[in-house]
Amino acid sequence: MKIIIAGAGEVGTHLAKMLSVENHDITVIDPVADNLKGIDSSLDLLTITGSATSFEVLKEAKVKRTDLFIAVAHSEETNITAAIFAKNLGAKRTIARVDNNEYIEPENISHFISLGIDYLIYPERIASREIVHLLGQAEISEYVDFSGGKLSLYVLKLGENAPVIDRTLIDVIKENKEIEFRAVAITRNGETIIPRGHDYFQVNDLVYVVTNKSGIRDVLKYSGKKKLDIKDVMILGGSRIGKRTAKSLEGRFNIKLIEIDKLKSAKLAEDLTNVLVINGDGRNIDLLVEEGLPNMDTFIAVTGNSEVNILSCMLAKRMGVKKTIAEVENIDYIDLAENMGIDTIINKKLVTASRIFTFTMNSKVESMKCLTGSDAEVLEFVAKPDSRITRGRLRDIEFPKDAIVGGIVRKDKGIIAKGDTHIKAYDRVVVFALPSAVKKMDNFFN
């Protein structure tokens, strides 16, 4: 697939990195040569220094023969203009990133489609939705539902009290014959492995488990997690993410929102009727304690500053808050933050990249999700008749070692995959794949 990425900012760079290992022809455009230097020398792609809204530059990038044009520059005006130009010059599909909630209201989207922009993406909204979604299962770090929740991927951090610590997969299976979950991966010290029967679980492991509804109880039991009921939520930072999150949660929980800027606080208070907006500095411990931080069930730090978010979450953790969520925009910090005990990390770039990534996959992929704590991906496929995956039991078809089938949904029933599971045509298959394996999946499902 020929892809042009306009804007080598953080989202653009991350996308370029993800897509370049997947055999796409990628051209990245950015007006600042220094932004391109890093990716030009380390990734297999073409870079063009110039403005994405220049016809000459777009022609040089061969926009005419482009399948997907992704405008993710800093300013939304540039993105919208570039996407319109690209479409007019012959790009098949265009995506523009915007910073304005109004644009993505359903009644306004048609204006953009008639201008030639196929899809608008608003990272802050995706991020806030992710936060709201994750609060639905607050005791685990991250989860993804497949086929309406018939199968789920749970991401759990193992604490010292988890019963599975220092035991192997085989031990767990021995104890429980009719097991309804499968551990598909472990992230340990920043590296993701697909565990085999003899691998041990360790403290601070991030474990990825595919489970169906009846397995959830066991998953929580083995990982030592207790069901969390949330009533009180504190949000630090009235950024766009903070505001949207507060807006979606208001009414369901008691929410306190702390914002440092006075004018902004006033505006937030005006817009959010059921939220207690507090004007103050989140770095001030006394203020947080006074506002009842120790009694909170959830603490969400979404200021524009990753360091403040991480530190305040650690503080909240120490005060006994059970669930902490931090927005960490610096990708290198994610691993660190996870190891320091923060329950869930949100990253705008990753969630945005995930969303855009689905556009580059073939149509047989039903859904896919990049995980925050690991560079692996979870994909949901529909097995085609006669595809390689249906030709035998899982252990016999030489499925790549860097990927694993977690489970399948057959006739509305979630089934956990085992070595002797035989996948049939039209099963929905949930696959956990390391980056090196994503390409190979085409072979098995086509």
Binding site: K2, V21, D25, I26, T27, A33, S41, S42, L43, D44, L45, L46, S436
Partner: protein, 482 residues
């Protein structure tokens, strides 16, 4: 960290490729049925078996190739190829000394064309073919070849490409490096094929035509005849070779555009204009001298002058005449040409037109800067300002190049050679040209150098082909610091 496993694996893989090409030469020797069959066959076997062994005995390494790994791999590949490529010459007994055989092979791979053979025509055909093939492979680059045909090198390929492709900034013809490499090789093969046909029409045998096409397109300069191109007294052949040497010294990206009928892009290219300009200037000057002082006919002086000028500026090193017999003025002119080289992104060696041009422009702007200390005066290339960083890099390149030439000259003269021969040999090897001046002129060869001299010159060829930095960086302490 240096990823030793991946380095060894890549080398093993490339060794298999070398084995395949030696096998090709083996078939040529089978066809002509001469004594070199065994030597070529056994070497091919050694390369392939060793390569396969490495492939299957080393554990799977992580595929990430860092910048450092890239430099090590590229430098080592050229050495390993020469080490094994020299074996057929030694085993067959055609070149009994390993030093000589290694010199001949690395001179081939680096497209230098400096030979130690006193009687080329006595060599068996299979070995002659292998000798020309080394140049052809080295011309476009071993790495570029493997990028084009091997899927394995995908991700780290960029690091290798940057380390091998000549010129300050490599152009990409396609977003993906593999596709770029493929396109480059297709053009390269296409030109080689076209030249073979034309040389055959000009009256060469198929064998000579193929060999000469290989070494022309690589700007290598190995001939199957002792007298080089002077052996063929046909103006048609001379002009054909001039044309293809010229093409080989042009940026292959431009050839790609020309083949897609984007001629405007070619003629607007500044480096190309300077390249043509330098050639015309030197040709007219030398042709004038030949006509006036040596009383050559107009056509003869034009052809001889153009041939030698193009041959030296593109760093091919063919000869249709011995320029050392002409006026000393011409010898000096030719010598100065040795420091120009082909265009960036061509198969030519030496400093390269791009660098020479930018250097001249920068020097001129420097004068302006002295008069207007506060003026902002960019150096332009193709109407775009060239970043100061690139200018600095080029200045460093030229300084190091000259420094090595001077030190090399001192080293060679310490072996008992006069100034002409010493400086000629060094300039001709580091520039990957082949024939120099003095004792290494177009009708002489490198057989008379002592063992140390040959290894030293081999090293110069290698750093010349890989454009100094790739190899020299391995000798800097900063490279090995953790």
């Amino acid at each position: 960290m240096i990823n030793k496993k991946i380095i060894i694996q890549v080398l093993g893989l490339l060794l298999i490729i070398e084995g395949v090409f030696i096998t090709l030469s083996f078939f040529v020797s089978l066809y002509f049925n001469q004594y070199d069959q065994f030597a070529l066959g056994i070497t091919a076997l050694i390369c392939i078996v060793l390569g396969v062994l490495i492939r299957f005995t080393t554990k799977k390494a992580s595929k990430s190739i860092s910048k450092r790994d890239g430099y090590i791999i590229v430098s080592l590949v050229w050495i390993v190829f020469s080490v094994f490529g020299a074996l057929p010459f030694v085993i067959s007994g055609a070149i009994p000394s390993y030093t000589d055989a290694f010199f001949e092979t690395i001179s081939g791979f680096t497209t230098t064309g400096a030979s130690i053979l006193n009687d080329i025509e006595a060599m068996p055909y299979g070995l002659l073919f292998w000798r020309s093939l080394t140049q052809w492979l080295g011309g476009m680059g071993i790495i570029v070849l493997s990028l084009a045909i091997l899927p394995v090198l995908g991700i780290g390929g960029m690091q290798l490409f940057v380390a091998e492709v000549p010129g300050p900034t490599p152009d990409k013809l396609h977003p993906r490096i593999k596709e770029t490499a493929k396109r480059l090789w297709i053009i390269y093969i296409g030109f080689t094929f076209a030249e073979t046909i034309l040389l055959k029409i000009g009256g060469m045998t198929w064998f000579d035509a193929i060999n000469h096409s290989f070494t022309t397109m690589a700007t290598g300069g190995y001939s199957t005849k002792q007298a080089s191109i002077a052996h063929f007294q046909s103006p048609f052949i001379h002009y054909v070779i001039i044309f293809f040497m010229f093409l080989a010294g042009t940026n292959f990206t431009l050839s790609y555009y020309a083949l897609h009928f984007k001629l405007g892009k070619v003629f607007r290219n500044e480096e190309f204009r300077y390249y043509v300009g330098f050639i015309l200037l030197y040709t007219v000057l030398i042709a004038g001298v030949l006509m006036y002082f040596h009383e050559f006919s107009l056509e003869q002086s034009f052809r001889d002058s153009l041939f030698q000028v193009v041959s030296i500026i593109t760093t091919t090193g063919y000869a249709t005449a011995d320029y050392l017999l002409w006026l000393p003025f011409i010898t000096v002119m030719i010598f100065s040409l040795m420091f120009f080289g082909g265009s960036a992104g061509s198969t030519g060696g030496s400093i390269k037109i791009m660098r020479v041009t930018l250097l001249l422009k920068n020097s001129y702007q420097e004068l302006k800067r002295i008069i207007h200390p506060n003026a902002v005066i960019p150096v332009r290339m193709n109407k775009k300002a060239v970043p100061q960083q690139i200018i600095t890099n080029i200045l460093a390149f030229v300084v190091i190049y000259m420094l090595i030439t001077i030190i090399g000259t001192i080293v060679i003269s310490s072996l008992g050679y006069d100034l002409d021969t010493s400086v000629g040999a060094v300039a001709a090897t580091i520039g990957n040209i082949g024939p120099g001046i003095g004792g290494v002129g177009p009708v002489e060869n490198y057989a008379h150098f002592p063992v140390f001299g040959k290894w030293f010159l081999s090293f110069l060829m290698l750093i010349g082909r890989l454009e100094l930095f790739t190899v020299l960086i391995l000798f800097s302490p900063a490279f090995w610091k953790k």
